[in-house]
């Protein structure tokens, strides 16, 4: 079987397994980021282009907590999403909330602008080449899986983000709060008539979506260079993920996130030059054949 795989793919099987696993790890980041985007789009109808900057802020806040307050990785995992989420709440209250009556495009432009400004401020303050952040001692080291060397930290990223994705899905699909959220998406005035404070719910949803981005940022801090443009490259891919999965579909964005991570990982072996393009090719094909996305409802 293994030899058969090797013959048809032309790549040694251990390498192929390794690449599949690495694809899943990258997919974990895509899934967490697209999850936040999907939650925000589902309820607010805002395409949150600040998401990349908020991912970056998560990583930077983790660095600041360590450098300025001596709070390490585990503290940052809780505090950074709260802090960045709170800034999201402020942005929603002060600016985004004024745009709900207008076309999608305005929200997109506003959040894109806010993202650029946040990035600019961090670049001015911290430069572009980045800051060091170490893998926590408990998670450093690696397992020898036989077919590859698996850093413990990367394993942790996959498991942790799966748990978060599952928890978010459960909250939205299986709890009373989630039911309110879904109802408000369908018909906000009606839900408000039942005595639910919809504007507050919207604000908190935006904050939660932003917190998810920041959480992904904390997870990324030890393995990628913590720099102001770290979200820019990732976020374009994540938007493609959301579009392919179906705008606003929670489960769709999670499955597509992991799936596309794997597709991208395999492209990196067979045709590395195209690894940045492959996701957009898939996006084009999906949009042509299923305009609502793989999991979206037209």
């Amino acid at each position: 079987m293994l030899e058969f795989l090797e013959t048809i793919t032309g790549v040694p099987t251990p390498l192929l397994f390794g690449q599949l696993l690495l694809g899943l790890i990258n997919g974990a980041f895509y899934a967490m980021l697209s999850l936040g985007l999907a939650v925000i789009f589902g309820l607010l109808n805002i395409i949150n282009f600040t998401h990349g900057a908020q991912f970056m802020m998560g990583a930077f806040v983790a660095w600041m907590l360590l450098a300025w307050a001596g709070i390490g990785y585990w503290g940052a995992l809780i505090l950074a999403p709260l802090i960045v989420g709170a800034t999201g709440v402020v942005i929603e209250r002060l600016m985004i909330s004024r745009l709900y009556k207008l076309d999608h495009l305005y929200g997109l432009l506003l959040t894109f602008g806010i993202g650029l400004m946040i990035e600019g401020v961090f670049r001015n303050e911290f430069g572009s080449s980045g800051l060091p952040y170490r893998i926590p001692a408990e998670l450093s080291g690696a397992w020898d899986l036989g077919f590859m060397f698996m850093p413990i930290y990367r394993g942790w990223v996959v498991v942790f983000s799966l748990v978060i994705c599952l928890a978010t899905w459960l909250v939205i699909e299986k709890t009373r709060l989630g039911a309110y959220l879904r109802a408000a998406t369908e018909n906000a005035p009606l839900v408000q008539a039942f005595g639910v404070n919809v504007p507050r719910m919207i604000t908190l949803t935006y904050g939660a979506g932003v917190a998810l981005a920041a959480l992904a940022g904390v997870l990324a801090a030890p393995i990628y260079s913590v720099n102001p443009q770290m979200g820019t490259n990732l976020i374009i891919v994540v938007f493609a993920v959301v579009v392919i999965g179906g705008m606003g579909s929670i489960l769709g964005s999670v499955i597509t996130g992991f799936g596309l991570g794997v597709v991208e990982g395999l492209t990196k072996v067979y045709w590395p030059e195209a690894s940045a393009t492959v996701i957009f090719v898939i996006m084009a094909i999906v949009l042509l054949t299923r305009p609502a996305g793989l999991f979206g409802r037209a």
Binding site: P12, P14, L15, G18, Q19, L22, G23, I25, N26, G120, R123, N124, G127, S128, S129, G130, L131, P132, R134, I135, A142, M148, F149, P151, Y153, R154, I223, Y224, S225, N227, Q229, M230, N233, L234, I236, G265, K268, V269, P272, E273, A274, S275, A276, T277
Partner: protein, 405 residues
């Protein structure tokens, strides 16, 4: 750029009053445009630092019968944007464009400077084609190039037994040139290249896939033909996946700012090649001291130091031939630069060859361990020095049409 209300006010009032009085006192203005990366991955190694160091050179050459005006712009690492800005600047009376990191942009500006008979003082771009197949009588390539990096780091590692290589290469002009030049050294020394991956630039964040492919190649050395954040991310991934235990890591282009980003813990022991380091000698330390305040309290990195050296020498040539003649004919100004020996605090004495290549000694540095480093940016110790004449590609091997054989 950093603006505050006071500097804006000051700039506003200066703009209304200064030109008149200066024009009367000093005659012509030499306009220098720093075209650089203000917003992308190369900002810290070039960017505002390059502007500060160009201004420093301008200030040292004040009162020589002309004024020096320094402009700056962001080319966003895009050849189309860079080419447009360069055309606009040259048409609006800019005499020399300085810096231009990102080889693809630099090659575009190289063409335009020649077309318009202006001056191009390159410090930031690495491709050795600027003084090879694409050399130009209007261009000086000051600081470093891919051939010099390849020889410096690649050559040193091959000598210590690293004879089989795998490359992780940024898929654009710079990465290709660096990989090609290093592979040449490896093969000349009897070594072999076991493979390479070329990844999309600048859209790649995760390098683990490439690191694992490198591991599977069973090569002894991982050659990183990339720069800045990409190199930092590659090294981080290599350490995570235990690559450094079985392979030697060769960061072919890396600087003080990248070491700062990576942290000494991960960077210690790396070998790298640069032609300038702030703590090299008394002259480099004096230069650092002079410019520290303007530089956000950081020492100059190699590329900004090159902007300083190149601008200073250009202005000396302008003073020598007269501002009017220098403005009228960029080719003549560059010819004068080549005719005069160079000397500055950053690179010491040197010269510019016929093909436009500036030559000076080149250093192989080893990154200090956290224990050895006594202050921020105290990162290097000198492992080897290559004299100027041996550090760069011999003129007859570059294929430059300006070189008479």
């Amino acid at each position: 750029m950093d603006f505050n209300r006071r500097s804006l006010l000051a700039a506003g009032s200066a703009a209304t009053i200064a030109p008149l009085s200066r024009a009367r006192a000093q005659g012509q203005a030499i306009r220098i445009g720093v075209l650089t990366d203000m917003s992308g991955p190369y900002r810290d190694t070039t960017g505002p630092g390059s502007v500060v160091m160009t201004q420093a050179a301008g200030a040292e050459m004040a009162n020589r019968g002309f004024t020096v005006e320094v402009l700056s712009a962001d080319h966003q690492n895009r050849p189309d944007v860079g080419a447009n800005l360069a055309r606009q600047w040259y048409d609006q009376g800019v005499d020399a464009i300085v810096d231009v990191p990102t080889s693809s942009v630099a090659l575009a500006v190289n063409q335009i400077a020649r077309e318009k008979n202006k001056v191009f003082l390159n410090s930031g771009a690495a491709t050795s084609d600027l003084t090879g197949a694409q050399c130009s009588p209007n261009t000086v390539h000051w600081t470093y190039d891919t051939w010099m990096l390849a020889k410096g780091t690649g050559g040193a590692i091959v000598r210590t037994g690293g004879d089989s290589w795998f490359f992780i290469t940024a898929d654009y002009a710079f990465g290709h040139a660096l990989e090609r030049d290093t592979a040449t050294f490896v093969r000349q020394a009897g070594g072999q290249v076991m493979g390479q991956v070329r990844y999309p630039f600048p859209a790649t964040t995760d390098f683990s896939s490439f690191v694992v492919q490198a591991q599977a190649s069973r090569a002894k050395v991982l050659g990183m033909a990339n720069a800045s954040t990409d190199t930092v991310n590659t090294i981080k991934a290599a350490r995570e996946f235990g690559l450094h235990r079985s392979m030697k890591l060769a960061a072919l282009l890396m600087g003080v700012m990248d070491i700062h980003a990576l942290g000494l813990e991960s960077a210690q022991g790396l070998l790298l090649t640069e032609s300038f380091y702030w703590d090299l000698n008394d002259r480099t330390r004096a230069l650092t001291q002079r410019t520290r305040a303007a530089n956000q309290n950081r020492p100059p990195a190699m590329v900004p130091a090159g902007c300083y050296g190149a601008t200073l020498h250009y202005l000396k040539a302008v003073a020598d031939m007269g501002a009017a003649a220098a403005k009228a004919d960029g080719r003549a100004a560059v010819a004068r630069m080549k005719a005069m020996p160079t000397d500055d605090d950053a690179f010491g004495p040197g010269r510019i060859r016929e093909d436009g290549r500036k030559i000076h000694p080149v250093f192989l540095f080893e990154v200090k361990s956290p224990a050895e480093s006594r202050a921020p940016y105290d990162y290097y110790k000198v492992a080897a020095t290559t004299p100027a004449e041996d550090a760069f590609r011999p003129m007859n091997e570059g294929g430059c049409s300006l070189v008479r054989s």
